[in-house]
């Protein structure tokens, strides 16, 4: 591609050189126009700055490896951009902010009309090729711009359009599709919606396909319903993940999915709009009825739906990060201003511990979110095809969860006023609620990340687990292990990862805490796997805990790495970054310690079995069953 561009650039350069002498004596209205076109073309092409992206070879997945007790110390070096890149990014950001801060865009509810303006500022198609007018940014730069975009009220429209619709085309679309649709999207002429979720179906419907190939083999016919589609009503392009084939093996069905690009004009598309808690977020149910899709509109290849999803979703999940950063940042700034404003002598609220401690917590959690987001983007950008499946999911969960916690604690702190419907704090709260629930519910993601990690760990630990599960066959091994693990059993593992060698020396205490967590995590994983074997998939309570531990450990790593870098190179407020990292680590270690201890102790020494029992009865009786406290028996 680049070669062609360079060629065209070369062929056009002499043209301009030749122009002045030829046309100097003639009234050259037409030619001038032609000349303008040339210039525009030239500008467009000359603006293309060749981006050299040399990535380092792929690394083993960081979070997955934590379960094996392997800590990749390279991660402690917080990723940074080159000076050149940073300068460009700053400039891009300035331009974008100028447009985004215009009131008609900032408070716009119907963004469809304003899309053109955004397109002119080149805010659409951040990662698309420059040939189509995109910016060809990497993940880090995209996140930074998304942070700016998150300031406007209809950010959901942009973010979803960008990270789902456009990204699908950028990553998986062939040249034809890109030519036809990507250009339109980047020019702001179209808007996409991503259709994934379907109404809950029973076992039987597993065999029901949503899309079938017509008899002549030229079109796909789509029938079915998609739920909770963001942008569903405004969009005219739909990326639809449809069920196209089923594999039957021993009466157990598996599904195959294909991704399609569907135009609204293909016919048979009806959408119903639903409001959500967050007034700025609207979702729709979309029904496709005999929608004819030409065979060229298959994205990627047939039955490649799952790989499209796994290619798109990590970065989509990651995009929750910048959105939440903007949210919490605004929240903190407003809270600070609020307390300064309402403080009166002698009640200087901002000097009380009650306010200080809460605001400190808020700042710490924002610091953690930020550190995680840019650590993950750094991993994505710096290493070839890096497996960031878990990392990006962790960012999504952590960011949205912390945002929700922050907003609810702020409502508590502000008091009665915050309960008003239009109070800024309750609006933040609603938005945070939506981040937690929409698309991937956090709770489900937590168990899933734990499972992905365990499946990775299981492959490596298989031999060990087999021995641990059959202690009578491996007597000596078991006793040896009891001896070697005696310190672990005391909850006092020997710290042999020496993480502080890779950090600023004053972070030694904190890094040892992190080390403790990683080592305990490995021990807990071994015990957890050996306790349940294959059945581990059903232990959702412990999986959830493990997922939470992974989150906290990853967050600690990010915070410590960032603070250490800041302190070493002497950034502004670096010493406070050290405090922030320390405070986050201390609170996270507490959580990790108690959760891992619960996993190690098992279901009977924790509350798990009780909850299981309580809810078993609940479902049998189908309602809250304890009798009223005033009931008498005789």
């Amino acid at each position: 591609m680049l070669k062609i561009i360079q060629k065209s650039r070369l062929s056009k350069l002499p043209l301009i050189k030749f122009v002045p002498p030829n046309y100097s004596t003639k009234p050259a209205v037409q030619e001038k126009k032609h000349f303008d076109d040339q210039i525009r073309e030239f500008e467009k092409i000359s603006k293309i700055s060749q981006k050299v992206k040399t990535k380092k070879p792929q690394k083993p997945p960081f979070v997955k490896n934590l379960l094996l007790g392997i800590f990749d110390t390279d991660i402690l070096t917080y990723p940074e951009l080159q000076n050149e890149e940073l300068k460009n990014l700053k400039q891009n950001l300035e331009e974008a902010k100028n447009v985004l801060e215009q009131p008609e865009i900032k408070e716009c509810n119907q963004l469809s009309q304003q899309l053109k303006k955004l397109a002119n500022a080149r805010i659409l198609g951040l990662q698309a090729s420059q040939l189509f007018g995109g910016r060809e940014l990497n993940a880090t730069e995209t996140c930074r711009l998304l942070e700016a975009i998150s300031e406007i009220s209809s950010k959901h429209v942009i973010v979803n359009n960008e990270s789902l619709g456009i990204q699908t085309l950028v990553k998986f679309g062939n040249d034809r599709l890109k030519q036809k649709y990507l250009q339109r999207l980047i020019n702001g002429e179209s808007l996409t919606a991503f259709c994934l979720l379907e109404p809950l179906s029973s076992n039987i419907d597993v065999l029901k396909r949503t899309a079938t190939l017509s008899s002549d083999g030229k079109t796909w016919v789509l029938n079915g319903e998609k739920r909770m589609v963001i942008n569903g009503s405004n969009a005219d392009l739909f990326v639809v993940i449809a069920h196209t084939n089923s594999v039957m093996k021993d009466e157990v069905g598996g599904q195959k999915f294909t991704a399609f690009l569907v135009e609204r004009d293909f016919g048979g598309v009806t959408s119903t709009r639903h409001g959500t808690v967050d007034p700025n977020l609207e979702v729709s149910d979309i029904i496709f009825e005999n929608t004819q899709i030409p065979i060229e509109n298959v994205i990627g290849k047939e039955e490649m739906g799952e790989s499209v999803l796994s290619g798109i979703y990590p970065e989509y999940r990651l995009s929750t990060g910048p959105v939440c950063i903007a949210l919490v940042k605004n929240l903190i700034n407003k809270m600070t201003a609020h307390f300064i404003k309402i403080s009166r002598e002698p009640y200087l609220l901002h000097e009380t511990d009650a306010i200080r401690s809460k605001m400190g917590e808020l700042t710490t959690s924002l610091y953690a979110i930020e550190s995680m987001v840019y650590l993950t983007t750094g991993l994505l950008d710096n290493y070839e095809n890096q497996d960031c499946e878990l990392e990006s999911s962790i960012v999504k969960i952590f960011a949205s969860e912390q945002a929700l916690l922050s907003t609810s604690s702020c409502i508590d702190l502000i008091g009665a006023e915050a309960a008003l419907e239009n109070h800024w704090c309750s609006q933040f709260h609603k938005e945070a609620l939506c981040h937690v629930a929409v698309n991937d519910a956090n709770d489900h993601l937590k168990t899933t990340i734990a499972l992905f990690g365990l499946s990775h760990a299981g492959r490596k630990m298989n031999e060990l687990i087999k021995k641990l599960r059959n202690p009578l066959y491996y007597g000596t091994f078991v006793f040896k292990r009891m001896w070697t693990n005696r310190k672990q059993a005391d909850d006092n593992p020997k710290l042999n990862l020496y993480l502080h060698h890779y950090l600023h020396p004053s972070l030694i205490n904190v890094s040892q805490q992190l080390e403790y967590c990683v080592l305990r995590l490995q021990y807990a994983t071994e015990i957890f796997l050996s306790r349940y074997g294959q059945d581990i998939i059903k232990q959702h309570m412990e999986l959830r805990r493990l997922g939470e531990c992974l989150m906290d450990i990853y967050a600690m790593t990010a915070c410590i790495g960032r603070a250490s870098r800041a302190y070493c190179i002497g950034l502004q407020h670096a010493e406070y970054e050290m405090v922030l990292a320390t405070s986050f680590t201390l609170s996270a270690v507490e959580r990790v310690r108690s959760r891992l201890l619960k996993i190690i102790d098992g279901p009977y020494q924790t509350n798990d079995e009780n909850y299981r029992k309580i809810s078993e009865r609940l479902f049998r009786l189908k309602k809250y069953y304890p009798v009223h406290p005033l009931t008498r028996n005789f």
């Binding site: 499946s455 492959r459 687990i465 059959n470 998939i537 049998r620 005789f634």
Partner: protein, 388 residues
């Protein structure tokens, strides 16, 4: 004729309430001459008129309490024969329908004099002061327990006033008060107390109880008259869960399904007949999985909204798939007749089980209220036809 004789006759012939009007006048006479008057050879040795309970025609709580009242009023100075009276009364409780009535038990205990039986020293306590009387009340309490009647605090006061704090009946009472409340609500399928007398309600309770194995079960009440050609006009309480529905949908139409019954289920002392729709058992394939092998933990599709569960290599069996058959539905009908069961099948067919139109249905009824199905080939074919 002596007045007491008159009363005997009145008691035998008329309702007690009427005779009560005469009583105050004749009280004194009665109290002195009971023994003499009961001169039939067997009754002559009886201190009390225990036969009188059997002789009453109109047996209900009022007459029962009246009997107690007669006994009390007959002899309120030197009252005798309490024990015999109480035993006689206990024996006849069920026929009066008062065996579950706490009030009646209390008024029986109240017959005993207060204070007289209270022991005054430790030896009396140890050697069961007035043993006959104490044993009598213990038996009364035992009967209460057997009938599931829980005493109350008033009864404690009564017993304390009669036998004192150390009496055996009171100890029995305390034990009862410890255990009975605990057992009262221990049943996993607690029934309303008293049970509804409507048979339909009972049938609903019974079917509900059986179907609690699958929480998704839907219980529907059909009317058999909604089906054309049905002879009976009765209700059908039918239960089927979505799992059973899908089992029936996947059923091979060449294989017959059976309507079996009537089986019995007991609700306290009431019996309800129910029928099941059953298919032949499926052979269960068991695949041995090495649960120690963690090298290949399959994580379900990440974009699912359901919590992950283990994927099995074969179809998982539900609670409805038993060793002796696959239970597809359950019902109880008002008449338990074959016709009503046929209506049930038709209702099921219309209610989301279209497969039933094609599947041969065999009625293997063990007992029928109206007719007994005999399982011979011709009969079966006929039934198959009628069911279609």
């Amino acid at each position: 004729m002596l007045p007491s004789k008159i009363i005997r006759m009145v008691v035998a012939s008329r309702s007690i309430t009427e005779c009560l009007k005469v009583m105050p006048l004749t009280n004194r006479n009665l109290s002195v001459s009971t023994v003499k008057l009961c001169d039939t050879s067997e009754e002559s040795k009886q201190v009390t008129l225990y036969r009188s309970f059997e002789d009453i025609k109109d047996k209900n709580k009022d007459t029962y309490l009246d009997m107690i009242r007669i006994f009390l009023n007959r002899d309120y100075v030197y009252r005798r024969g309490h024990v015999e009276f109480i035993y006689a009364a206990l024996k006849n409780m069920e026929s009066f329908g008062v065996h579950k009535d706490l009030e009646v038990y209390k008024s029986l205990i109240d017959v005993l004099p207060k204070g007289k039986f209270i022991p005054t020293n430790m030896f009396q306590v140890e050697f069961m002061h007035y043993p006959k009387q104490q044993q009598c009340i213990i038996d009364l309490l035992e009967q209460m327990e057997d009938n599931g009647v829980m005493p109350d605090y008033e009864m404690e006061d009564l017993l304390r006033n009669i036998f004192g704090n150390k009496g055996f009946p009171l100890r029995k009472y305390w034990r009862m008060m410890y255990w009975m409340p605990k057992f009262k609500n221990a049943s996993p399928w607690l029934l309303p107390n008293p049970l509804p007398s409507d048979v339909l309600e009972l049938a609903k309770l019974a079917i509900h109880q059986i179907c609690s194995v699958d929480v998704q079960t839907q219980i529907t009440v059909y009317q058999s008259r909604d089906i054309e050609d049905s002879i009976d006009d009765t209700w059908i309480v039918s239960a089927q869960s979505p799992i059973q529905r899908s089992l029936l949908r996947d059923h091979d139409v060449k294989q017959p399904v059976y309507v079996e019954g009537a089986f019995r289920v007991w609700l306290k002392s009431n019996q309800v007949n129910y029928f099941v729709l059953r298919a032949d058992p499926k052979p269960l394939k068991t695949v041995q999985e090495d649960s120690d092998d963690v090298s290949n933990i399959k994580v379900p599709f990440m974009f699912n909204i359901k919590p992950p569960i283990k994927k099995h290599l074969q179809l998982s069996t539900s609670v409805h798939t038993q060793e002796d058959g696959v239970i597809l539905a359950l019902c109880a009908t008002g008449t338990s007749s074959k016709d009503s069961l046929l209506s049930w099948i038709r209702h099921l067919e219309m209610d989301g089980n279209p497969t039933l139109a094609d599947v041969p249905i065999v009625f293997t009824l063990k007992s029928g209220v109206k007719e007994v199905a005999t399982v011979i080939d011709n009969e079966q074919n006929k039934e198959v036809e009628t069911s279609k």
